[in-house]
Symmetry: C2
Subunit: 311 residues, 2 copies
């Protein structure tokens, strides 16, 4: 096989596109596919200030790299989640990338700022770790974006991620989740706009992109994610893709084209959401989920601090 | 584990129901689950004359057996499809069952009545065998039911079958097929009512049922079905069921409960269907798909016959 564009020697074959590319044209392909998603789903424009949710993995670093190359104004935010060595390495990869590209990286360390970490939160609240972690990440990315005046938060969710989430929601027909499965979510009271520009690219492409661009990233899966259903769904979809190349794209984009509209809620009335009395973020009750999590995960430490402040 | 009903020793554990049964109560369970589907989906009543589409496999023979035990008037129809030894054995199992139960079995042999068989039809028309076979079966079951005055055609499709078909249609978001994925289809011009009373029971249960009831059936998969996507989807769903017992039921019945209505066509106007000029069955053009298939699969033999009839 030869490069689809220049007929030169190839570095990668993409069966789902029935194509192969040389290094130069594969990198261009990744940028083009990202630009296509940004445009098609009207994610953001060149005037927007973008906050990249950086994990230190291949997807978020590749996304940040592509956005900078496409000429967007994109800063990063990395969270110290306190998952031992894994979190430390992840943060270090993010710092190295930012330094190399002369880009702005914000950092929030959960332990330093909130006196708990993901393993403690999971243990103390009985939540599965991925749930405590996801809640913390959503809260901190949203809050930081709004406080620092970013127009949109972008995440590195790729086609494999999105297809696996869609698969999990479809196999159980979770109509309320299916209603929110979109590559861009508009801003609403207390929440910034959110977008996933990598939805046309898979894990394999993102790993190849980082390799070719010399971007170092954390290769390991998070040690707390073991047994996660999400990983099982990915494996099933990979099996399907192996015998039917393009199956994942067909599943995900077929849903967006032909099924997503069916699951939109009939009344588009927003739920009444109040501001959390602790942090001001959107909350269903008095206190938002994140502050409730923090309170349960670090109660002993928080109590003296508060009484100290009162005195 | 002990039998859920009588606490006696068990013959089978059903993880998806979090239950286990002794022989007597497992057989009763199969009958109850079938009766429950018949009632819930209003499939047919005790006054209806039922035609069972019999393949000689475990599902159709178990279904026939259960319907007779439940007191329904149910005759069988088996087709000689001409797939060598496989078809001959299948027919023989059907005959043995009918003889043992003193039930009425109709037979149609494709070669004798139409001068072609499934392998020839597939080869001559370039269709995959399962497509030529499915078309022939639907045509002959429908036609026979209408000609002999049956109220409903029932098939042995079980939960594994239906979940796999749903999976294939969902993974590609075939909205037109999703609209027709129901356990009962009402009669319409030229088509009898059709029902699938085994949708609450899986392959494993049907095999156990036949074993315990002493019903001999053809165990092999059809030799022409190899590489069939349907079998691949079944394997993926089995993998899912292994780690999440009940996943198949959740997927299939969740669809019927919460998603099926979204895919119903907005205008319920029936397409104008004419009567086939050859056989009188519903047709989209002058000649129905089955007669077109027959014409291509056995042209040399058919032509002299027609000119002979004209003279």
């Amino acid at each position: 096989m030869r490069c689809r564009v220049c007929k030169g020697p190839i570095v990668i074959e993409l069966r789902q596109h029935n194509a192969a590319f040389c290094e130069e044209h594969f990198l261009r392909f990744c940028r083009d596919q990202t630009a296509r998603s940004i445009k098609k789903f009207d994610m953001f424009g060149t005037d927007d200030r973008i906050l990249v949710a950086v994990s230190g993995g291949k997807d978020s670093l590749a996304l940040w790299d592509i956005l900078l190359d496409l000429g967007y104004t994109a800063d990063g935010l990395v969270l110290g989640l306190g998952i031992g060595e894994y979190s430390e390495s992840s943060t270090e990869f993010a710092r190295t990338f930012a330094r190399d590209r002369d880009a702005t990286l914000h950092e929030i360390n959960l332990q330093e700022s909130y006196r708990f970490d993901v393993p403690t939160a999971a243990r103390e609240t009985g939540r599965v770790p991925c749930s405590a972690c996801g809640l913390s990440k959503r809260h901190l990315f949203d809050k930081t974006a709004l406080e620092l005046g970013y127009d949109v938060v972008v995440t590195g969710h790729n086609l494999d991620d999105e297809a696996a989430v869609l698969f999990g929601n479809t196999i159980r027909w979770k109509d309320d989740y299916l209603a929110r499965q979109a590559p861009v979510l508009p801003a609403r009271a207390g929440f910034p706009r959110k977008a996933k520009p990598l939805v046309r690219l898979g894990e394999r492409e993102m790993a190849a992109y980082c390799l070719l661009r010399g971007i170092d990233y954390i290769v390991e899966e998070c040690p707390m994610a073991e047994g996660n259903k999400h990983l099982e769904y990915k494996a099933l979809l990979n099996e399907l893709e192996r015998t039917s190349p393009g199956a994942k794209m067909q599943f995900y984009f077929g849903f967006l084209d032909r099924a997503a509209r069916h699951f939109e809620p009939e009344d588009a009335v927003e739920h009444l959401i109040s501001a959390c009395v602790r942090c001001g973020s959107p909350a269903n009750g008095e206190v938002c989920s994140f502050c409730r999590l923090a309170e349960r995960a670090a109660p002993v430490v928080l109590l003296p601090t508060r009484s100290g402040r009162d005195s």
